[in-house]
Amino acid sequence: MSRKQNHSPKQNELRWLYEISRPYLGWMLAGVLLASTVILANVALLSVSGWFITAMAISGLTGAVINYFTPAAAIRGLAILRTVGRYLERLITHEATFRLLAGLRQWFFERLEPLAPARLQYYQGGDLLSRIRADIDSLENAYLRIVTPTLAALLSTVLMILFLLWWSPAIALTNLIGLMIVGLILPWLALHLGMNSGKQIVEARAALRQRTSETVRGLAEITLYGDPQQRMDTIHEENSALILPQRQQNRIDAGSTALTGLFSQLTWLSMIVIAIGLVQSGMLNGPELVMLAFFGMASFEAVAALPIAFRALGETRSAARRILDLVDAEPAVIEPINPAAAPQHFDIRFDGVCLTYPGNKQPALSDVTFHLKQGQKLAIRGASGSGKSSLTQLLLKFWAPDSGQITIGDTNLNDLSGDTVRALCAVVSQQVHLFNTTLAANLYLAKPDATEEELLNACRAAAILDDILALPDGFETEVGEAAARLSGGQIRRIGIARALLKDAPIVILDEPTEGLDAATEREVTHALERLLSGRTALIITHRPHLLTLADQIILMDAGRVSDTRRNTDVINI
């Protein structure tokens, strides 16, 4: 996998596809060679057959002796070569494609990783996913449907024309012209005409997918507030918006298929006409005429797949473009070239920190200054959008401040790698993402080498152990998509257990008890107290319970610290 960091904004999609394919070029080349072998074996099979029966007929008529063993054996051999070659070709090209896909997914994930979450927040969750899914899928086309047919066509055309040149330059030239029309000019036209509709199809499909998804999700709202008929009309329109470019595409496809047939036929007919003249002038004999006729007819199999391949190019390019646009974004944080070692003590200091998100006029944070000694807890309050979460985003190195500096211990955050910083922090937030695997796997995520005892202790401290053991499969319970089997409070406590297991010196709580009923909140809060004890913490909350745990409280308003209080004041708020 190429690890070159190339962030030029408009990297060429095709170049990129080449770069990404490089590790699999061997497989790809083998596929191309096999594809060419199949094409040539077929041409040879038909040509030899034509020559053979004509020669046999003439020998029958004239009584001339003929060696029929060699051609008869060749015919059978070529038939087998064509078949086996085709089988191997399909296997090898698929092998290459799957290898490419595996590499592509890994590559994509690795490139997406530095961009999360800062650069991905503008993409809608569902939309981003479905887009990526479809785009990555359609990149599969690149090799199987574009590269192989194109290169195999090129290779076999060269060999076929060389063969024809030996017999007659005029016939070779005619065939070449025909192959060029069918293999280059028509596909180019199809590509040119199909570019637009290819793009439209992908976009229309994504739009329809999104519309469907929100219709299912918001069906109650549509029933109560909307006009279902109007909704149906919209969806009907969006379906038409998909069919329309597809129809355009079908016209192009059908037209190019029809023209391909027409030009192929006209070409081999011209080759026959030339050959007839050569027979008349004695430069060719009868069997050779028939051989060349069959050769001409079969030669077009070499370029038959090209119009479709070139059309797929449009679709693949726009998919590649979108993937590139996504991953080519600059990461929001530049990693230090020589990162400093992890600090040994954990005072947290913000000094005049300012942050404005790109595209926003209002700063998210302006001139934020506070100092938190190791072991102290800072509570952050404020309205939504006041900058609370931005503080944690900065501390986790998901974003970098525009000015001012942040230090942990005495080390500037700029000098630390993101991984080092995040290794120091455990986060519990409102949304705990549980992966679609077992509970155990979700917990071990925090510390892959944790002992079973550590795991049990963490769960006990998070007051979730009994709940887990009560499940039929205990720790081996599959979480199920969207953690359907667990209540909000349970999920939150699993998040806490995960944070406890991580055992990091700094804890960040982002409204960890929001959305829980009173009884559950009490339990979660107790679990959090255990997590917080002895650690340095940033706590975003409005909950009096949690606020009492803080040594210091700051109130954020429009990106500024509007008030700082000692904890003793909190009772009076």
Binding site: V84, A102, R133, T212, V216, G218, A220, S386, A518
Partner: protein, 590 residues
């Protein structure tokens, strides 16, 4: 065949096939036209081969000059043009057939989704349904545009060729006639096996996809645990495993087409060799021999391409399963009411001896009697699972009571047409859905024919949404995503409130978000709700003390029954369940 699972699988495949074929009936005409054009093309091809055989016979064997065959050459050019036209036409007809089918099927799916209604959609994964309706339906296309017409042509064209080959050379005809049925036989034998493997493959592919996208969704979490790099390797590993598995399947799957190719190739070779020898012995005429040899590859072509069509069929069968399942899902309620509700003012709503149970499960609501006096605000409280949201769903008419009635000013809800009832209820869910579109469209989902602009502005103002909307770069025209990205939780709530104000319905059901917001949003929303409640009959599934204290009546639900009912003061005085809950809330600081 002793394996019952395999038998079942086969039976199921047959059923899916039957369903797909029955769909094709609606587009019989374009499909038949396409097949007809394909057959015409086949006959033209035979004529073309005949003319070419004449030309080669005259020039290669007879050594005649080109002038003697001009007629044939011109005829061939005519055929070329004709065939190009026919080819184009047949492709266009199959496309139109497929397009119409896809459109109709999507319309049916959406129609059915509407019939199933919110009671169904609550438990659905919207993304999966979207994939079925969009990509699933797309995947069916090839069944109709490729598989079905091609299957017919695969019989018609070889049969026609055979008819022409026999009179010219019956031995070659025999070779073709014997090998042709072998192709489908082999295909079925191998195809059956492949199909089973293919199904397993389809499942493992979707599992792999699910894992990959789960990782992308949880990327931030992975980064927090420095696990992203580890997972990246894992993703590669899983894809590798998938490759190994799939290749195992493909090695067999491709065998089917290899056998077909092999049979075809070896038959052509046999025809060539046979014809050659008999020509040498002078058994047949060259014209006949070359004609047969020209036709032989064309004979196998449609049969050979059947392998490709089979894959199209397999894909379609995989995709159609969830579609049929969706279409076969029965709606839980069948609203029958037809009364057009006339409401001048906020109505009185009465729940009378209401029972509700999901099919085959214990009752969720038991004998509920409750009065919501006209224009008052009732707070419904209770632990989770007490039946609060079921009461809400029943009031909205999304669920139908198993027994008892909900009366709207003495008219039973079951007798009222759902549409006319839904026009008069506003609903504020815990997690409102924002649709992809402008804020204006999201507030005014059903735009009024007059006074829209004023109503929109007023609704936003009443919901305390105007200020933040005006602060957005494009104000009311700002596009919000389908999950409301770019807006905070409090802002989404206020847009939902504006929706209710804009609708101006006399009945309001509020499912209060249990997640608390920052104090400022909370204050604004509480204020807006108070304003919304005035002059309307409102039922709140309440989580907040301020809401509960302000309501005209409090209803405590437990186990689907009302255990306490009254005003805040009265209930505190009674010192029962409510009083206890109240103290709990107080100590939690809510």
């Amino acid at each position: 065949m002793a394996n019952p699972a395999a038998m079942q699988d086969k039976e199921q495949t047959r059923q899916l096939d039957r369903w797909l074929r029955s769909q094709a009936k609606t587009v019989k005409r374009p499909l038949n036209t396409a097949v007809m054009l394909g057959s015409v093309n086949g006959f033209l091809l035979i004529a073309q081969c005949w003319m070419l055989a004449q030309v080669l016979n005259a020039t290669a064997i007879g050594h005649q000059p080109i002038t003697t065959v001009w007629g044939y050459l011109a005829g061939m050019i005519g055929l070329f043009l004709l065939r190009a036209g026919v080819n184009y036409g047949s492709q266009r007809f199959t496309f139109e057939a497929g397009a119409r089918l896809r459109t109709e099927l999507r319309a049916r799916l959406f129609d059915h989704i509407h019939t199933l209604g919110p009671a169904w959609s609550r438990n659905q994964r919207s993304g999966a349904r979207a994939t079925e309706v969009v990509d699933g339906v797309e995947a069916l296309d090839k069944y109709f545009s490729l598989y079905l017409p091609q299957m017919q042509l695969a019989i018609i064209i070889p049969a026609a060729i055979l008819i022409f080959v026999f009179p010219f050379d019956w031995i070659s005809g025999l070779v073709l006639a014997i090998t042709a049925p072998l192709l489908p036989v082999f295909m079925i034998i191998i195809g059956n096996q492949t199909e089973k493997l293919n199904r397993a493959q389809w499942r493992s592919l979707s599992r792999m996809g699910a894992h990959f996208f789960d990782m992308i969704e949880g990327l931030t979490t992975l980064k927090l645990f420095n696990a992203a790099q580890r997972e990246a390797r894992f993703i590669g590993q899983i894809a590798e495993d998938y490759r190994l598995q799939t290749m195992k399947v493909l090695r067999v799957a491709f065998l089917s087409s290899m056998v077909l190719e092999f049979l075809a190739a070896i038959s052509i070779a046999m025809v060539a060799v046979y014809v050659g020898f008999r020509l040498m012995y002078g058994d047949i005429h060259y014209l006949n021999g070359i004609f047969v040899l020209l036709l032989a590859p064309e004979f196998y072509l449609p049969l050979r391409s059947m392998g490709t069509q089979f894959h199209a069929r397999m894909d379609a069968l995989g995709a159609v399963e969830p579609i049929i399942e969706l279409l076969n899902t029965e709606p839980s309620t069948q609203p029958t009411g037809a009364i057009e509700l006339q409401l001048e003012h906020a109505p009185q709503i009465t729940f009378s001896h209401l029972d509700f149970a999901y099919p085959n499960r214990d009752a969720v609501i038991r004998g509920l009697n409750l009065d919501l006096p006209a224009g008052t605000h009732t707070a419904l409280i209770g632990a989770s699972g007490a039946g609060k949201s079921t009461v809400g769903q029943l009031l909205l008419g999304f669920l139908t009571p198993t027994d008892g009635e909900i009366l709207i000013n003495d008219t039973p809800l079951s007798k009222i047409s759902p549409h006319s009832w839904h026009k008069r209820v506003a609903w504020l869910p815990q997690n409102p859905t924002l649709f992809h579109g402008t804020i204006e469209d999201n507030i005014a989902l059903n735009r009024r024919s007059n006074g829209h602009a004023d109503a929109l502005h007023q609704a936003a103002q009443n919901a305390h949404a105007l200020d933040f909307i005006n602060r957005l770069p494009n104000g009311f025209q700002t596009i919000v995503g389908d999950r409301g990205q770019g807006l905070s939780g409090g802002e989404i709530q206020r847009i939902a409130l504006a929706r209710a104000f804009y609708k101006d319905a006399p009945v309001v059901l509020l499912d209060e978000p249990s997640a608390s917001l920052d104090p400022e949003s909370e204050r604004l929303i509480t204020d807006a709700i108070a304003r919304l409640s005035s002059g309307r009959t409102m039922l709140t599934i309440a989580h907040r003390l301020t809401t509960i204290e302000r309501s005209d009546q409090i209803v405590v639900l437990d186990g689907g029954k009302i255990i306490e009912q009254g005003t805040h003061e009265a209930l505190l005085h009674a010192n029962g369940a409510y009083a206890e809950r109240y103290r709990q809330y107080r100590s939690a600081g809510l």
